[in-house]
């Protein structure tokens, strides 16, 4: 019994030593992060909606770009965070990196969904269709599936350590596969040469459009980081709840 206590104490030390510092640091960072992201997104929205010109080809619909492009950027960014954190988790066995990867997935998935949705809302007036199987949209859709698979894997495996390792492997295999998938989709698409594909991005972006785009991109990225921290904090607490419950069940055996 004494032996078991020592082991569980060591485990607790390993699991908490770093989260303790993380929790303190993130608690201090969060308020400024929320404020800053709100501020930047607010400014971005002002320029996006009021103080930028309509596109000479796409008219007012170009304003959808200020949501769509940052969302698509965060879709990629989220997967990168997930993949890097997963790699770090596998190599360094640092529990925080596993939590980081797990926390990034739903945020990335949400922004991927948003990118698909706004892309669809942009495509309808521009191409006359809600959905076009062009290379870009198709690969973003597949990225969305990769996210869902990753989340499903976490949800299915009960034991956190095992789930973390399996999910990390999946994230990394996915990261390697993304370029291959992307290439194959482009190949498939040029093979079929659909008649009605337009390029989404114009030739060059006017500076007046670049400002709101950059502001929205930076602001939403800050929001992404804030959300990531909140979710990681929730994961740390979830682990503690789990440990406390295990302790409760164990202490009950003696009673």
């Amino acid at each position: 019994m004494a032996d078991m206590n020592r082991i569980s104490a060591a485990q607790r030390f390993h699991a908490y030593a770093n989260p303790a510092r993380f929790m303190a640091l993130s608690a201090r960072l969060l308020a400024p992060l929320w404020g800053l992201s709100l501020l930047v997104v607010g400014a971005g929205l002002w320029f996006a909606l009021f103080d930028s010109p309509p596109d000479y080809q796409q008219g007012e619909t170009v304003r959808i770009m200020y949501v769509h492009v940052p969302a698509a950027w965060l879709a990629m960014f989220g997967y990168s965070v997930m993949a890097v954190a997963s790699a770090a988790g596998l190599v360094f066995r640092h529990p925080l990196s596993d939590l980081c990867a797990k926390s990034a997935a739903p945020i990335g998935a949400a922004f991927t969904f948003l990118a698909l949705l706004t892309g669809s809302l942009w495509g309808k007036p521009m191409w006359g269709t809600w959905w076009e199987w062009d290379a870009r949209m198709t690969s973003v859709l597949i990225l969305f599936f990769l996210y869902l698979g990753y989340i499903a894997l976490w949800a299915t495996i009960e034991e956190p350590a095992r789930a973390a390792r399996a999910a990390a492997v999946l994230a990394l295999v996915g990261a390697i596969n993304i370029p291959i998938i992307r290439y194959s989709v482009v190949w498939w698409n040029t093979l079929h040469q659909p008649a009605s594909v337009f390029r989404m991005d114009g030739p060059t972006i006017a500076p007046a459009m670049l400002l709101p785009l950059a502001l929205m991109g930076i602001g939403l990225t800050l929001l992404f980081v804030a959300l990531l921290l909140v979710r990681m904090r929730a994961e740390v607490m979830r682990r503690r709840v789990r440990n406390l419950r295990l302790a409760q069940a164990a202490s009950a055996g003696e009673a």
Binding site: E158, R245, L246, Q248, A249, A250, A252, G253
Partner: protein
């Protein structure tokens, strides 16, 4: 619970599993407030007999009759069966588990606490079953006996995974059940110390 004149009689019972005759010609009867302890080597048919009594296994030959119970209901509906499997869902909490079985088996939603207290699980009520140890799971499985009043208890190795204190607790509950006119058929290797419990030794085909 009107179990005063309850009696169970088994006549010339046979059991066949996978083409093999496990036992035949088994007869015994059991009255209210009586316990029957099944013993015998592995494969003698202790579990099969319990499942036949619970209506979970077909009776190929012979008959099982309950008199004095609720004529509207089958024996299975008046009995508790605690087998090797614990019928627990890891994602449900301890109290949810008991409340479900109360609603399902007895149509009585409230009052799971008594059963949990009786088996020393009250302080774990809100814990998901996934966190329980083997012994705690077994106790939760046994808590059904108290949560839903039924006159016949069919217990298949109920003491597996239980520590001495929990076995004592279970024996006390069994004595209480017999004291209220209940009936117990249990397969066990352990001497439970039930006074006046009758023994049925399977395997030799002879009731002792």
């Amino acid at each position: 619970m009107t179990t005063s004149e309850l009696s169970l009689s088994v006549r010339d019972l046979a059991c066949e599993r996978g083409g093999r005759l496990v036992f035949e010609g088994l007869s015994f009867s059991l009255g209210h407030s009586e316990a029957l302890v099944l013993t015998g080597p592995n494969g003698a048919g202790k579990s099969s007999l319990l499942r036949q009594l619970a209506g979970l296994l077909d009776v190929t030959q012979g008959e099982i009759e309950l008199s004095g119970g609720d004529p509207e209901r089958t024996i299975g509906e008046q009995a508790h069966y605690v087998g090797h499997l614990d019928a627990l869902k890891p994602s449900m909490s301890v109290v949810e588990t008991i409340e479900f079985w109360r609603s399902f088996l007895g149509s009585i939603p409230q009052g799971a606490e008594t059963a949990l207290e009786a088996l020393g699980l009250a302080h774990l009520a809100d814990l998901p079953v996934a966190y329980l140890s083997a012994g705690q799971r077994r106790r939760l499985s046994l808590a059904r006996l108290i949560a839903v009043p039924r006159p016949i208890w069919l217990l298949d190795e109920p003491t597996v995974a239980l520590d001495a204190a929990s076995v004592a607790r279970l024996v006390a509950l069994m004595k209480g059940h017999l004291g209220h006119g209940g009936m117990i058929v249990a397969a066990t290797h352990l001497d439970l110390g039930l006074d006046g419990a009758r023994q049925l030794r399977l395997g030799a085909g002879v009731a002792v």
